[in-house]
């Protein structure tokens, strides 16, 4: 056999082996078909007054019990058992029951639209979120981080605490609310985003920008660009270590928190405290974004900040020792730019140590 013939024969043999590969076995056709039909039919998962058979009904009642607690604080009403959407077996069903959706079975890109009832979406052992009646949300991701973009209405969530820096995110336009274990509610009201925090800690801020941590119980109103519109909460932050981003700063702030609880504080002092807190929270968020944490590796960032404030209350300049990385510095500058302190006679300087254990 000539070399040419050998190559011809080898080629034919390899082509035959390639043909013998049984590719369709690899495909989960049901999932592909479901996703495809959802896309061609316009995307949104709509809900009809149909429900599951009795066996599934029992499981759904159990799921309702899990989410009921998370919803009580939101509505102040009792929550009844959820039902499964898009089931074919029709049964009589009380009108006020919420719909129920298995979060682990829906993919990124799913639009969930509620009618006159809530939709409860459950991601097993991770999070349960509830779309209020007449609301609309897009599930942007369901991987390590579940991201829900709220297009209209309200969403509340109960997120199981996770070791990850964040495991659940609600996005409203360019405002981002990130959590890793908490209960909270987000309302989209016109051009504002209202956040109510019942438990735990959340970080709010613009997408890709510095975030501010909120500690329960508290609330915040933000623009659709993630800018805080209301004054920072008057309730004091805990004097104990508030979060993993903690520190010297928390210890420094503890006396102020005590003052807020019991002592008389002038409006100027309060405004100054609030501005200072906004500033330090924002910069700490910048540091947190830059700190990489992997497994048991503990990352600690420490710097001393000196901020010079003009008589008109605007920040003239800020320095950090040791200096911040360029990216964090840019982030810090963005935080400092809008901060305004109460006017003073000669201006003043704020010096403060910032530390982040991550």
């Amino acid at each position: 056999m000539t070399p040419e013939e050998r190559l011809e024969k080898a080629l034919d043999e390899l082509v035959d082996e390639t043909k013998a590969e049984t590719t369709p076995q690899l495909v989960e056709w049901d999932a592909v078909e479901t996703a495809l039909m959802r896309r061609v039919q316009g995307g949104p998962i709509s809900f009809v007054r149909e429900r599951a058979t009795s066996g599934r009904w029992v499981a759904l009642l159990a799921a309702a019990a899990v989410v009921a607690g998370a919803l009580l604080w939101v509505h102040g009403t009792h929550v009844k058992a959820p039902v499964a959407p898009q089931e074919t077996a029709k049964m009589t069903e009380p009108a006020e029951l919420p719909h129920w959706l298995d979060g682990d079975a829906i993919g990124a890109g799913t639009v969930v639209v509620s009618d006159d009832r809530e939709v409860v979406v459950e991601h097993h052992d991770r999070a349960t979120w509830t779309l209020a009646p007449r609301s609309n949300a897009l599930v942007e991701s369901t991987g390590d981080v579940i991201t829900v973009a709220l297009n209209e209405g309200s969403v509340s969530a109960h997120v199981v605490k996770s070791p990850r820096p964040e495991s659940f995110v609600v996005r409203v336009e360019k405002t981002r609310i990130a959590v890793h274990g908490t209960r909270f509610r987000v309302d989209r009201v016109g051009t504002k985003v209202q956040v109510e925090l019942a438990e735990g800690v959340i970080a709010v801020g613009p997408v890709g920008g510095p975030e501010i941590e909120l500690f329960a119980p508290s609330s915040a109103t933000l623009s659709l660009d993630g800018l805080r519109l209301d004054a920072p909460p008057t309730s004091p932050r805990p004097a104990t270590k508030p979060s993993e981003g903690s520190s010297a700063l928390a210890a420094k702030e503890a006396p102020k928190a005590g003052a807020a609880l019991g002592e008389t504080v002038s409006p100027e002092e309060k405004a100054k405290d609030d501005a200072e807190r906004t500033m330090t929270d924002g910069i700490r968020a910048c540091l947190a974004q830059s700190a990489v944490s992997r497994g048991d590796l503990r990352v600690s960032v420490e710097t001393r900040m000196a901020v010079r404030v003009l008589a008109n209350g605007h920040v003239e300049q800020a320095s950090f020792a040791p200096p911040l990385s360029p990216a964090v510095r840019r982030c810090a500058d963005a935080v400092l730019a809008p901060v305004v302190f109460p006017p003073s006679d000669d201006g003043f300087v704020i010096e403060q140590g910032l530390q982040l254990d991550h």
């Binding site: 190559l7 080629l11 043999e13 390899l14 082509v15 035959d16 082996e17 590719t23 690899l26 061609v40």
Partner: protein, 206 residues
Amino acid sequence: MSDDAQDLVARCRAGDSEAFRRLFRAHRDEVARLVFRMNGSRSDLEDLVQEVFLQVHRSIGEFRGDARFSTWLYRLTVNVVLMHRRAAKSRPQLVGDETASPPKDPRLLPDEQVARRRRVDAFQRIVDQLSEKKRTVFVLHEVEGLSPAEIAAIVGAPVLTVRTRLFYARREVMALLGEDPTLSDVVNGLESERPPLAAHARRETT
């Protein structure tokens, strides 16, 4: 195209989603097979199949029935895969993202399966080195078994051009086969003792 198929396509064009579902079920296997053979990757298979049928749904109104539906479907599939590969070139490549295990062939012993997979992977890498146009006609002709005329209708080129591409594609593949150490056993005939799988398969299906 059979009356049933014609009716299905007509109903799809009229917006009948149940007909589209049936069309998907009827053709999904052949689309998946072609996607896999054209793309050579399991990781994107389901996404690409879905994308193909999404294109079918969007474009079915343009299908006039001048060509066979399968030819039209092949053309859409080829285009989707080529677009995907072009886009993938600009993205960072993940090494070892083939999470799905290869299908097991009960006719082969485990070590034979491993050896075959290694050969098929090596062959796939060689085919991947062909230019886009040559790879397309090579896969459609050699692996899918389409005639040059059918391929010409799919890729929108004259039959003579298809034949020329096929000739050069085959010559390039043979040259690369001779250089690949993974396939030296096959090329040098040392594998001749093992049962020829394709023949084995043919025997079982006849």
